[in-house]
Every structure is written in structure tokens, then in C-alpha cells.
């Protein structure tokens, strides 16, 4: 993580903030046991320190810095969580955080004024440790100025909300609440079994109340039975209303096609139309109507982040390496969703995230086998040649040990490989086939199944 030890660190506001650890794939490590959650993330930001003179270097690691102070960090992404504001320089893999307890005020500044109609949108943070810091929003590629305004506003609302909520004080508040609950205070006076039983009853009642208030009243459950008949009519009514709308939208999908082609050929005043078309397509995709043809999107933020999460997950405990450097997508999907528990991903999300992995340079990529169409995720370090040689060695060693020359004819099957190398049968099959294509093995196909033998023809012709 971060820059290597021999390269001097840049001396700028970002590196003088609180140290932040990033995961191997560049994600912030949130303190989930403290309940930290990321609420907003915006890219294309800058961090500026407006004070005179440089900021003091961090106490724990004051060596290893360059002597030259730059007051501006560019090309950062700004992440707002419930406990702090984190700024990340993705290219250099460094990050700095500003915890809320140290933030006195956060105000929006900038924006168009009379004198400077295109002044940039900023957030001014008045911190107790680093003085006045400025986060400048540069917006996206299409509409930089208006986008930056939206970015700034979204980030500012998230920051204010988090400050109001004071999530970092949650632990103490929770403990105080627990102590004050009637179940605790009442039973403090009782003794023995009586105390336990009363406590249980009160606890159950409190939990039921909590659930009720959380889900906004339980009028649904009482009305459930009588509403059953009504549901079918609801659906029908809904269909009646929605179908004409849908037909209209489908008509426009052909319009979109035309616009696309027009925009491709003539690119002057079709530009504005093109933007609207893209907006429409984005809206439709959001609704799940992907039949409305989506061109290859450059990858939404969500999928980019998902890609990083998946890579982190597979590197954790060396899962991918232990599986032999290669895993079927189904396995990845199942493992990842099981680990997540809630907020699971769809297979389409997984595919989109995989497509982005190569561009993001995360060390893993998707690979499909031509003959059977099996899709796997493969470590970049995986080498077909190495694997084929391993299999050839396995096959040769199987020819040597022959306890009963009649029963044991040597050769390896998919099951043998799967058991020895601890990889799933599907992948073992693929590896054996590719080893055979490379010329290391020969197959023998009988009704007992497929056995692979070392390729003696190859050895024979070479000598």
C-alpha cells in the first residue's frame, strides 16, 4: 500500500491529514464494528490549504517527506462516511481522513457570483487540527460546471447529516440507553428467578415495540388476509395503467437508435440530442429495461467499487491462490454473496464488475474457455504452461506406480486431478483439455470415462 519506503512522500495537505489505511485494491477500510458507513463518494476533487506557510508533517512519520511544500492536491476522490471525510489519491494510493470531531464547521462556498461567473464550487472546512481546508469540486466530463455544483451540494448535505447524527458517539449512547431500559432498572430491584422472568417479558415487549416503530406500523399484517383478493385486482389495474406508457417508451427506443446513428455520423448540433438520448438510456437502464440497448458504458462508480471489493475478497486469506489461481464465476458469485449476507449482487453486476477489472489493473481478469463456454476469474499470475506441465508430471507419475498391472492402467482422470490439486471438477476438465491441446497429454476415451496419459508420441518424435 502507499508509496514505497524509499520514494520520498509528497508534502501536501493530503499527506498531513490523519493517516488512513487502504486495502490492497485501493478501498478505504471502514471501521464497521464502530458502525462506519460510507454515504457519499465524488470524484474529481481537489484539496487546498489556504493558510500561509505549510502544514506540519504528521507526528508519527515525519521523515521521508520531500522538502517542497505544495498547497494543492488534485485529482482526488472525496468519500463522506458517517465518522469522517476521506480524500483518496487513487493513482498514488494515498489517503487522508478528517474525523468529524475535529471539524468545527463545513460551509459551501464558491459558485457563480457577479464578478466571477464560473467560480468553482467549494466546501470550506474549519478544522481544529489543520486550520482551514478547502475541498474543490471539478465535476464530471460532460457538464463539468453544473456537475460540480451537484457534487458539492450532495457532499455538503451528507457532511451536515453526519455531523448532526454524531455516529461516533453512538457507542456511549447505546450503552447509556441499555442501562436506562425499564427491563434493566425494574429487575435491579427483584431477585432470583422472578427477576429473570420479568426481565424476559419486558425485553420481548420492548423488542416488539421497536420492530413496530421501525417498520412503520403493522396495519398490513392484520389486513393481510382480507387484502389477498384485492392484490390480483391491483396488479391488473396497474398493468392497465402501465401498458400504454410502456408502449410509448418502446416506440422511443427506435428513436434512440436513430439518434445514435445520427450522432455518430454528424457530430455538430446532434450533440445536444445525443446527451438527452444518453440520459434516457441511463434512465431506462436504471429501470431494468436493458433491452433498450446500452452501449458499453465506461463503468459506473458502483461497478468500479464492486470490482475492487471482489478483488479484496478473493485476496483475503489467499482464496484465489488456494483454489489454484482460477475460480468459476458461479463459485465466486456464491462465496461473495454468502459472505455479504444482505445487499447481495446480481449475476449481471458481477459480470459488469469483471469487465472493469482489467482496465483497473487489479491483477485478476475474466477468462472464457472457447470449447465449453465456461467463464472463470483468473489471477494474472496464472500460467497455462505451468499448469500443463504440472498435469503432465501427474500423468507420468501415475504410470510408474502399478500395484496390479491388470487393474491399474495408470493415467489420470478429472476426478484424480480434482482431488490432487484441490480444484473443482469443471476446471480440472478444462485444464486437462488445454494441456492436451498444448501437446502434453493424450486422451483415452472409454465408457468408463476419460483418462489422460503422458504424450509419448511427442517424446518419441523428439528423440
Amino acid at each position: 500500500m502507499a508509496s514505497s519506503n524509499n520514494k520520498p512522500r509528497r508534502w501536501s495537505p493530503l499527506t498531513c491529514l490523519g493517516t488512513t489505511n487502504l486495502s490492497p485494491s485501493g478501498l478505504i477500510q471502514l471501521e464497521s464494528d464502530a458502525g462506519e458507513v460510507e454515504t457519499q463518494c465524488r470524484t474529481n476533487c481537489e484539496l487546498r490549504y489556504e493558510g500561509s506557510g505549510p502544514l506540519p508533517k504528521p507526528v508519527d512519520n515525519s521523515s521521508g517527506f520531500t522538502d517542497f511544500w505544495t498547497a494543492i492536491d488534485v485529482n482526488l476522490s472525496c468519500h463522506v462516511t458517517t465518522h469522517r471525510i476521506v480524500l483518496v489519491d487513487e493513482k498514488e494510493s494515498i489517503a487522508g481522513s478528517i474525523p468529524y470531531p475535529l471539524v468545527h464547521t463545513a460551509e459551501g462556498k464558491g459558485g457563480p457570483s457577479f464578478r466571477s461567473p464560473k467560480a468553482s464550487y467549494k466546501i470550506e472546512l474549519n478544522t481544529l487540527a489543520w486550520g482551514e481546508l478547502l475541498i474543490v469540486f471539478r465535476g464530471g466530463e460532460r457538464h463539468p460546471y453544473s456537475q460540480s455544483g451537484k457534487d458539492r451540494d450532495a457532499a455538503l448535505t451528507a457532511i451536515h447529516r453526519a455531523q448532526k447524527r454524531k455516529a461516533w458517539e453512538d457507542r456511549e449512547r447505546q450503552a447509556a440507553k441499555e442501562a436506562a431500559r425499564p427491563s434493566q432498572t425494574i429487575t435491579a430491584r427483584k431477585v432470583g428467578v422472578d427477576a429473570i422472568m420479568t426481565k424476559n417479558k419486558l425485553l420481548l415487549k420492548e423488542n416488539a415495540n421497536l420492530a413496530e416503530t421501525a417498520f412503520g406500523g403493522n396495519n398490513k399484517t392484520t389486513k393481510h388476509v382480507s387484502k389477498k383478493k384485492g392484490n390480483q385486482e391491483d396488479i391488473d389495474a396497474f398493468m392497465r395503467e402501465a401498458t400504454p406508457l410502456l408502449k410509448v417508451i418502446q416506440k422511443y427506443t427506435s428513436t434512440i437508435e436513430r439518434e445514435r446513428r445520427a450522432a455518430a455520423s454528424s457530430n455538430n448540433d446532434a450533440a445536444k440530442q445525443h446527451n438527452d438520448t444518453e440520459k434516457l438510456v441511463a434512465m431506462l437502464e436504471n429501470m431494468g429495461m436493458t433491452s433498450a440497448l446500452s452501449e458499453k458504458q465506461s463503468g459506473s462508480m458502483y461497478h468500479k467499487q464492486l470490482a475492487r471489493q471482489i478483488v479484496d475478497f478473493l485476496r483475503h486469506n489467499d482464496k484465489l491462490t488456494k483454489a489454484g489461481g482460477m475460480m468459476t464465476l458461479t463459485d465466486v458469485y456464491c462465496l461473495f454473496n454468502r459472505a455479504r449476507g444482505t445487499n447481495m449482487i446480481s449475476p449481471d453486476d458481477l459480470l459488469k464488475a469483471l469487465d472493469l477489472m482489467k482496465d483497473l489493473g487489479l491483477g485478476m481478469s475474466r477468462r472464457s474457455f472457447q470449447s465449453s463456454g465456461v467463464l472463470v476469474i483468473q489471477d494474472d499470475a496464472f500460467d497455462d504452461e505451468v499448469m500443463a506441465k504440472k498435469l503432465a508430471d501427474l500423468a507420468s507419475s501415475s504410470m510408474k506406480q502399478k500395484a496390479e498391472p491388470i487393474d491399474d492402467i495408470g493415467g489420470i482422470t478429472v476426478i484424480d486431478v480434482s482431488r490432487t490439486l484441490k480444484i473443482p471438477a469443471l476446471l480440472a476438465n478444462e485444464q486437462l483439455q488445454s494441456a492436451e491441446q498444448m501437446g502434453w497429454l493424450c486422451r483415452d476415451s472409454t465408457i468408463e470415462g476419460m483418462r489422460y496419459f503422458p504424450n509419448l508420441f511427442q517424446a518419441a518424435t523428439s528423440c
Binding site: 417508451i249 438527452d276 437502464e285 433491452s291 458461479t330 454473496n337 446480481s346 472464457s368 465456461v374
Partner: protein, 254 residues
């Protein structure tokens, strides 16, 4: 006479005016298209809010809802992040697809990678706790319908491991291996499933020859292929009679 050749109305102004008119119309169209989409979105989210409970608990309602969306051309499960994430259907189906994948994997050594949807459903309801998710808060048993399982498998097929459904006679089978099953295999499976010829789930070459009128060679080839994949078991009794058993068609004892 001369003006006649030039045409009337807009045509008089020429092609440029047509183009401009077309652009104007397009702009209006696009705007109204976006309005329509937004209107639809609000309608759908209102519907979802009202019926969220229904959808999660009642498999019949769920199936109808999915059917409606399919008719409208909307794929609810395409992404958790999108508009439909609010329904909470995503979690339900992704969890189910993970469970189905695990059940198929566990039974692969027995049936070679082909299993009835009904069997998957039985396994899930009987041994539900073994496949339960750690964070799953549903203490009441969620009942899955066969349709739910089929939808889940459809989603899994995008992952390239060959998950797909195939209809054999009265039942729907899930195939979880990328092996191909051609028409001959399907016919044999159909025959094995049919009660009227021999017992259920077993077949002899004589049965095949009698019903499908294939020659010896063709029967042998197809059966051996299935055996090689582990989907069929060969049983030779004392008289040397060969019968072929299909573990995927066996029903669990209730």
C-alpha cells in the same frame, strides 16, 4: 405551371426546413419520452411500496408480478443498484440462486449434474437450515415455489457454468454442467420418465427399441454417453440383463 413543379407547403422551402422540423419533433419526442419514463417510475415505486410485503411472502403473487414485468420488458433482477433494489426482490432471488447452486453441486456426484426442480425444492424445505445464510433474519420459513427456482436458475445461467433448465415430460430439470445433451438423450430421459413403459426411472434397451424404434447402435451410443457423464447407472443382474437407472428422476420419500 412553373410553381407546380416546386411543390407546395413545407416542400417549397426545401430539404433544410424538413430537417429542422424533424429535429424539433425529435426534441419534443425525447422530452416526452423522458417524462413518460419518470411517470412510469413513480407509478412503479408506489406499487412496490404498497405491495412489498405481499411480494416477499406470497410466492403466487410474486410469480404474477414477475410475469407482469416480463410482459412489460422490464428485468427486475438485472441489478441491485437500480430502481428495483427498493423492492428487496433482489436479495431474495440472489440468496435463492446461491442455495440452488449449492444444492446442485452437492448432488452432482449422485446424478451427474441433472436434477428435478421439485427435488431441489424438497431438499431446500427439508434441510433448509444447512443452507441458511448467516445474516438471514427470516425466522419463519420462506416457501419457494418451483417458479422461483426456475427464475433463479435463469439468472445463474449468465455466469457461464452451464446452468439451464430443460423440460422433460411433465417435470422441469435443472442442468448444472456445461455438457451438451442432444435430442437423443432428451428422448431417452423422456422415456424413462414415462410411467407407462416399464417402471419409472429405469429403462432397458428393449424398451427404447420398442417405443422409439432405434437400432441397437444408436441406443448403445446414447446410453454410453449418458453413463460417461454420470447421469445414468448401469445395473446388470444375474441373468446378464442390463437395466439403466436415472438417479435424477427418483423421488425422495416423504
Amino acid at each position: 405551371m412553373a410553381h407546380r413543379r416546386r411543390g407546395v407547403g413545407v416542400g417549397r422551402a426545401g430539404a433544410a426546413a424538413y430537417k429542422k422540423k424533424a429535429e424539433e419533433l425529435n426534441a419534443v419526442n425525447l422530452e416526452s419520452a423522458m417524462e413518460t419514463v419518470q411517470k412510469l417510475e413513480t407509478k412503479l415505486s408506489d406499487f412496490a411500496k404498497v405491495h412489498k410485503n405481499e411480494i416477499q411472502l406470497d410466492p403466487a403473487f410474486r410469480a404474477k408480478f414477475l410475469q407482469m414485468c416480463a410482459l412489460l420488458g422490464v428485468d427486475i433482477l438485472s441489478s441491485e443498484k437500480g430502481f428495483w433494489g427498493k423492492l428487496g426482490m433482489g436479495d431474495f432471488f440472489y440468496e435463492l440462486s446461491v442455495k440452488v447452486a449449492e444444492v446442485c453441486l452437492a448432488s452432482r456426484s449422485r446424478n451427474g449434474g441433472i436434477i428435478r426442480v421439485g427435488e431441489v425444492n424438497e431438499i431446500l424445505s427439508q434441510r433448509g437450515t444447512r443452507f441458511k445464510f448467516a445474516n438471514s433474519s427470516k425466522s419463519k420459513k420462506t416457501s419457494y415455489s418451483d417458479d422461483d427456482i426456475i427464475t433463479a436458475v435463469k439468472k445463474l445461467s449468465a455466469l457461464g457454468s452451464g446452468f439451464r433448465t430443460v423440460t422433460v415430460g411433465r417435470s422441469v430439470m435443472i442442468i448444472s454442467v456445461p455438457e451438451e445433451l442432444d435430442g437423443d438423450h432428451m428422448q431417452i430421459l423422456n422415456l424413462a420418465q414415462d410411467d407407462s413403459h416399464g417402471s419409472y426411472g429405469v429403462i432397458t434397451i428393449r424398451d427404447i427399441k420398442a417405443t422409439l424404434s432405434w437400432d441397437e447402435d444408436r441406443c448403445e451410443r446414447a446410453l454410453q454417453k449418458l453413463m460417461g457423464k454420470g447421469m445414468v447407472w448401469l445395473d446388470i443382474n444375474n441373468d446378464g440383463k442390463k437395466s439403466y437407472w436415472f438417479p435424477s428422476l427418483w423421488k425422495m420419500n416423504t
